[in-house]
């Protein structure tokens, strides 16, 4: 059973009087525990696809199921609940909450979304801080961390609620080359340890090569794929 399955998935935006197709009828499937990259130039539809998989946006047509749930059926509240329960996000700009420490940023989904008790939260957060190599930076706020450290915190935050799927939109775009490799390596290590599915987008061919499964996008269409994922 695929974790994510898309059939003739399409998304068209309306810009004034003009329809702008961002994704044009793609078929793909992502298996549990895989390490997947959507690759393509800017405007190819990578972010739109990730947004739809992340239940942040709804398809215009076609069918998209994530964890056996048709994302088109989720309303605003149900979408938020589904994301909180199953999906972690890593952003290009890290998007950490500036008034919270690294520890609190990671703790945030457990406290504000999942309502975990404090002792359990602490154990989970401390475990992840150690796993991403940030245990000694727990009390620092985002403005006291480097870009790579921020993204490590973001990776931990995405995984803290035992998410089954982590979506990372251009997670290395704002990092230098070495740091970018380390972050991708960290994501892969976490996948290996936790068996969480990682799906990220990138336009960097070197980073792309780190993925086990790659979907190439051009003008909203899947151009080719490599690896073991299915491509319709």
């Amino acid at each position: 059973m695929s974790l994510v399955s898309a059939v003739q998935l399409a998304k068209t935006y309306r810009a004034g009087d003009v329809d702008v197709p961002a994704v044009r009828g793609v078929d793909f499937a992502i298996e549990p525990g895989s390490f997947v990259a959507f690759v393509g130039p800017s405007g190819s539809g990578k972010s739109t696809l990730l947004n739809m998989i992340g239940c942040l946006d709804k398809p215009s047509s076609g069918r998209l199921t994530v964890l056996d749930t048709d994302v088109a059926t989720l309303d605003r509240r149900a979408g938020a609940e589904f994301r909180g329960r199953h999906i972690g996000f890593i952003f290009q700009d890290f998007n950490l909450i500036p008034v919270l420490t690294a520890y609190e940023n990671i703790e945030y989904p457990l406290m504000m979304v999942q309502n975990w008790p404090q002792a359990r939260r602490r154990e989970q957060v401390m475990g992840l801080l150690s796993a991403v190599g940030m245990a000694d930076q727990a009390a620092k706020r985002p403005d006291q961390l480097s870009g790579g450290q921020k993204q490590r915190v973001a990776v931990a935050r995405a995984l803290v609620a035992n998410s089954k799927l982590v979506l990372a939109d251009e997670p290395t775009a704002n990092l230098d080359h070495d740091t970018a490799y380390r972050i991708i390596g960290l994501m892969r290590k976490m996948r290996d340890e936790l068996k969480t599915t990682f799906v990220f987008s990138t336009h960097d061919p070197k980073i792309m090569r780190e993925a086990e499964v790659t979907f190439m996008l051009e003008d909203g269409r899947l151009a080719q794929n490599s690896g073991s994922a299915h491509h319709g």
């Binding site: 947004n51 992340g54 942040l56 946006d57 605003r76 509240r77 938020a80 609940e81 589904f82 994301r83 909180g84 329960r85 999906i87 972690g88 996000f89 952003f91 700009d93 998007n95 909450i97 500036p98 008034v99 919270l100 945030y108 989904p109 406290m111 504000m112 979304v113 935050r157």
Partner: protein, 415 residues
Amino acid sequence: MGKILEIAARNLLRYRRRTLLTSLLVVIGIAAVLLFVAITGSFKALMIGQITDSMLGHLQVHRRGYVASIESLPLNLNMPPQMAAQAVKALDGNPDVEAYAPRIKFGAMFSNFTETTSVRVNGVDPERENLVTPLLAGRQLDGERGGALVKRGQILVPVLVARGLQVKAGDTVVLVTTNKDGSVNGKTFVIRGTLESATGPGGRDGYIHIEDARELLRMTEPEVTEFAVRIKRQEQAERVTAVLVDELAGVKNKQGGPALEVHPWQRLTPFANIANMIDVLTLAIKVMLVSIVLVAIMNVMVMAVYERIREIGTIAAIGTPPRRILALFLIEGLLLGVLGSAVGTAVSLAGIYALNVWRISYSFGQQEGLLLAPVIGVQDVVSIAGMVIVVAVLASLQPAWKASRMDPITALRHV
């Protein structure tokens, strides 16, 4: 909840200067309103106390039609003994009534044997009058003090009359008046002392013993012009009046209508209008405070939402329920309101304390040396602070609602 409070507080501290300025606005607003309420309340209470405790009493019982023609002090509208007895019965039976005193009021010519002027005179039962208007004795400026308010053969003369006719305590004067049958009579009195003028009707009346009044007016039976009544709680004057009106409804005149009427002090003195004006001004000041708080906090919260759009997008994307995003921003507004109210209340209480320590005096009409002694009740503090806090939350509602409804994708794309 505790963590949400902490996050909200940290978000407020993120923009320290803006939070400080907004809080300052709330502090100044609430402090100004509480000081205004305390000062005007003190002035109002002082004036009401002066009027009720040195002249009017809290309410008065008259024969029907007397108050409508009170300027002419009509003797034919005095209560005959039987009617007065029924009024006494009602007053004795009312648990809210603390004391009452019968009065005979009339106009007279006041003469020092060389000059004459007109004067309004109250014939009073000294002991009962002391219970109803305890501050009356304090208005006596000179002469014999202590003991009965006024003894048989004595008169308390309003100071302006005494100055005009150049008489003083111990002098003998004569009162000449006409009774209800048109018969003229005169009687000599010794001036016991002069009375300080007071604001309002009756503030320049003279006082003699009620038996002297009856003798001067050649009353064949003990009539009463009015009963001045003191009740246990002045603020309940309107309610007690209504109760007494019901109780006295059985006393009928020849036409079968009620023979007696009861008026609270508010209906007997124009100062009630000033008191009402103070209340309206207080309300206006409160409306201004609400507006200030509303605009200031709404402005700061709109800015807070605008500046944190990407952050809102992030927390929405990771699954924060909309109600929790709403709560985060509402609590920021709540904290601003609570902070402003707490500091504003502290500032105003310090200001009230300082005003009481400085003992500022002022004049009102012919009264001088009135002491400004502002006080504020717990109820006023709680209601005004509570109002500010509620308005602060309401002001945050629209920005918070907007934040909670924000589309995560649009918010995340915001630059």
